[in-house]
Symmetry: C3
Subunit: 390 residues, 3 copies
């Protein structure tokens, strides 16, 4: 398929969709219709093609994009920077130490104060169950309030760069990789994906990636198996919705406590560590109480518990269980690679190396997914606008 055909096929599919993205934030995939999700992904593909052709896709002459990172990040930070730059915005990072947020300023006020000429706000707040998504909706309400009262000349679009519930820029990138790898969304139906916990010597990894994956892939007809040792539960609401989505698309969703079971005949494996929900909740509580001793004890006990599951590693032996021994390996990166970034980790070095470029391609969709979320929120007639760039 040449470039022109690749672009046209996306534009044709876009034309068949009924979307409600215009003027909306992108916080959770499960708030969005299937058509909305497809539209974002199609636009992401289009922008990636335009970028490879060195064509512009700038839709702003000026304006700010603000990022608020409440957790470390390399790839998401630079993906956001790249996306907003390509769209024509200047990035300003809200550093909560430098700014007066540290002085107890309320969310409502801060959100308005930074938004007078702001088109986009990207937020990462993923560490505390019950906090991240709530914070994002507070910011969303604040800018709506500011816009409705004429304080803001434009309402900034919010983009969830990872919260306690979902990591939509990641899961949509994961899905775009699957679409590309298997040759179209239709080909995903009935494919089995193993979203599996894996051992890591680190502690406190957020839950949003597995929660996002089980809720997205199930909507596209994939059979999703969530695997983890007993106790490593995700937030219960995310299991319910995954069940619901699977039923809706005619796919299966189930939970197992055996990595082998999950990997058996899987077409895709996604082995990744996370902290048990109960630990994350207790941690949040201890942090709020400023209980340093309690935090230290929690970390110790959590690492000790992790260490009981060293065998949850994506080894060559595990890979042999998958369909033809050749499932696609996915990861949000960085992976804990045994013998590379740690002694024992999520994945064997040889497995990771074999799929390394695939994981880079997976990550490579992210800037375009972010840009597409903004594009579909800011541009009313998306296809018409795209045609002006071709």
């Amino acid at each position: 398929m040449n470039v022109s055909e690749a672009l046209n096929s996306r534009l044709e599919e876009l034309a068949t969709l009924t979307t409600t993205t215009y003027g909306k934030d992108f916080l959770l995939t499960w708030e969005n219709s299937l058509d909305n999700l497809k539209a974002v992904m199609l636009v992401a593909e289009v922008l990636q093609i335009l970028h490879r052709e060195r064509k512009t896709w700038k839709i702003f002459d000026s304006g700010l994009a603000i990022s608020i990172f409440r957790d470390n990040s390399t790839r998401t930070r630079f993906s956001f920077a790249s996306a907003v730059n390509g769209l024509g915005l200047a990035l300003s990072e809200l550093d909560e130490v430098k700014s007066q947020v540290a002085h107890g300023e309320t969310v409502r006020e801060t959100a308005a104060m930074i938004s007078f000429l702001t088109e986009v706000i990207g937020i990462r707040d993923d560490m505390y169950p019950g906090e991240g998504h709530t914070y994002m909706t507070e910011v969303a309400d604040a800018v709506t309030d500011g816009f409705d009262h004429g304080i803001l000349a434009q309402r900034p679009t919010l983009v969830n760069l990872q919260c306690d519930l979902d990591h939509p820029t990641q899961s949509l990138s994961d899905l775009l990789k699957l679409k590309d790898y298997f040759g179209g969304w239709e080909n995903l139906k009935g494919k089995k994906i193993a979203m599996s916990w894996a051992y890591s010597p680190s502690y406190g990894k957020p839950l949003s990636v597995p929660q996002g994956v089980i809720n997205l892939m199930s909507r596209f007809g994939m059979d999703v198996v969530l695997a983890h040792p007993e106790g490593y539960d995700l937030l219960p609401g995310t299991l319910e919705s995954a069940n619901h989505f699977a039923a809706q698309s005619g796919a299966q969703f189930r939970v197992t406590h055996s990595m082998e079971d999950a990997f058996d005949q899987a077409d895709v494996v996604y082995p990744k560590s996370w902290a048990p929900m109960a630990v994350m909740q207790k941690r949040t509580q201890l942090l709020k109480q400023g209980d340093k001793e309690g935090l230290k004890q929690l970390e110790q006990s959590c690492l000790a518990e992790n260490a009981r599951h060293l065998d949850w590693e994506c080894t060559e032996e595990m890979m042999k269980l998958t369909r033809n021994g050749a499932a696609l390996y996915e990861h949000c990166l960085p992976a804990d690679i045994s013998g590379v970034s740690c002694e024992r980790g999520e994945v064997a070095k040889s497995v990771f190396e074999r799929y390394r470029l695939h994981t880079y391609q997976e990550a490579g969709f992210k800037p375009f997914v972010i840009a597409a979320m903004i594009f579909t929120s800011k541009v009313k007639d998306v296809a018409a606008k795209i045609r002006t760039f071709i």
Copy 2:
């Protein structure tokens, strides 16, 4: 008034002014003629209208704007970021920890070194009496020296984002809100504004806001009453100049030690905490000496002194004293709101809530005031340039 009329009325008034802003820094309102101040405010209004109409007001194709923040800031930081972005410049923040300023590099040299392709330098340095404005003039002298000797191809314009003496981007925003609220500068004549100290549990708030307000509003014919408990003095020179400006415009300026007296029949109230000048001076001295014990004691005694004035709060009862019980409440934000950001603070929650959107509008002028300071310094024929954007 429609958009076209709103723009034309500003351009017509601009044409009547004799300004000396071209090629000049904006450091203190009281260094500027009334015509200069009006020009900056009219251009700010014009740029805000253009922004609401989604029209560009870009005057640069490229170039840097540098910000130097020596104190925390959210709104001023983002206002500056927004302003320079709208004008076409890229923001670079000089972080004095990362940079070699920390290595004892002289101001003169640093200013030249960062300015080779720099159009604007915005500085906030408000904590130490005798320091902030002095530092800004040193930077100004340095870039003049660099430009005069051909080291710099252009002389960056300095903008005072708050110093020890004045906070012009704030006070001009406060004034623009008053102009809008009362329907024109003419209507400000004879109106009474109470610039009052108010209780806050925090310590070491700078003096530049009250100093800026008494020196600006008095020039526009407002009767200014400065109120504070005994001992909470401002820098003496700023009282002298406020007296002078009041005499010049036929307005009154006086100091009282009663909040009630100040609020009585006031048309505008501006209740805000600050630290006594003497405390700020002692603090500066102790900081220079590295006397941590002395600093701790000063903070303790200052907070104890503050606590003797808990009744300096803008309550509903206090508001009833104002004209028709309905004075406009102004604040530079963030306010210390009783029961919200602290147990007891500057203002009652119900009062703040009633005027919240007004304070947001007040703050909303700031990006455009900053942009207008730069615009009127960089563009020779301001009106002609504006007409190209309409």
Copy 3:
């Protein structure tokens, strides 16, 4: 010479050169042919002229430039910010604390992850012998790998903003100042430059400036004398290459342990402190071992050793030894000026003041040298592109 002549003479000389800069990184001057170096410098001069004429030299519509600073910097940081802004790129700084580099992420992966829409990566990593240049080549290999495998749509150009071996943006700026001062490259032949160690009360200054200077000036036919107290050795390989370059250009290169000897009849003096190679190597080792006590002892002994050479100062008496007592003084800034930035330092106040504007001009070339490195790497027909700007 008017502007048009100045531009044309550069373009004519450019036309005589055979360069291999297109698509290449700029890491070390000694990896580049004389024609490459001349091309970069000619383009730097052209861009500076265009800037002074307020003409654009933007070659990008959008795209990121990433800087990675592993050591403090003011002038290089802002030079890079200025250069990439002038070329049309947006700057993103990779802060290794905020990012997940701190989490043990490998260089290969990080480099790919931040480069999906990145055109330039500028790196400063100068503190550890054997580390900086190695790190840069790892990043270079990583983006080559990403580009070759289709992960990256474009290969970012790397620019060395100072490593353990070379500081090419500095030395080329130093050389451009000499070219301007003496009236052309031809006039540098046979001129004597004293690259001399000088006393400083600080510790651990990198070696890349003297190493860069002796390896660059020798190629342009200057007689280079490297002077330092016994023990303050540079990395041996850099002496070998300087010898080789001197032989090639018919110039002389020699080492002396007498500042007087070096200054005698010198046309240019470059007195600057650095730490002995052996100290830097031991320091690197101790840092890796986390030996804080050892590091403290090393600093003490190094400062004590430095203090034995207080007389290595560029005083008026020393300057009298130079040709007609009027050698040009060069420095990369900031200089340790006796009685200004320290009690006793590299240079007497009166000497520095006399040459201050010369050192500013020297520094003023740097943004354009950086821009020229990028320009000559990104643009195939450099002269043709420049003609579109004139």
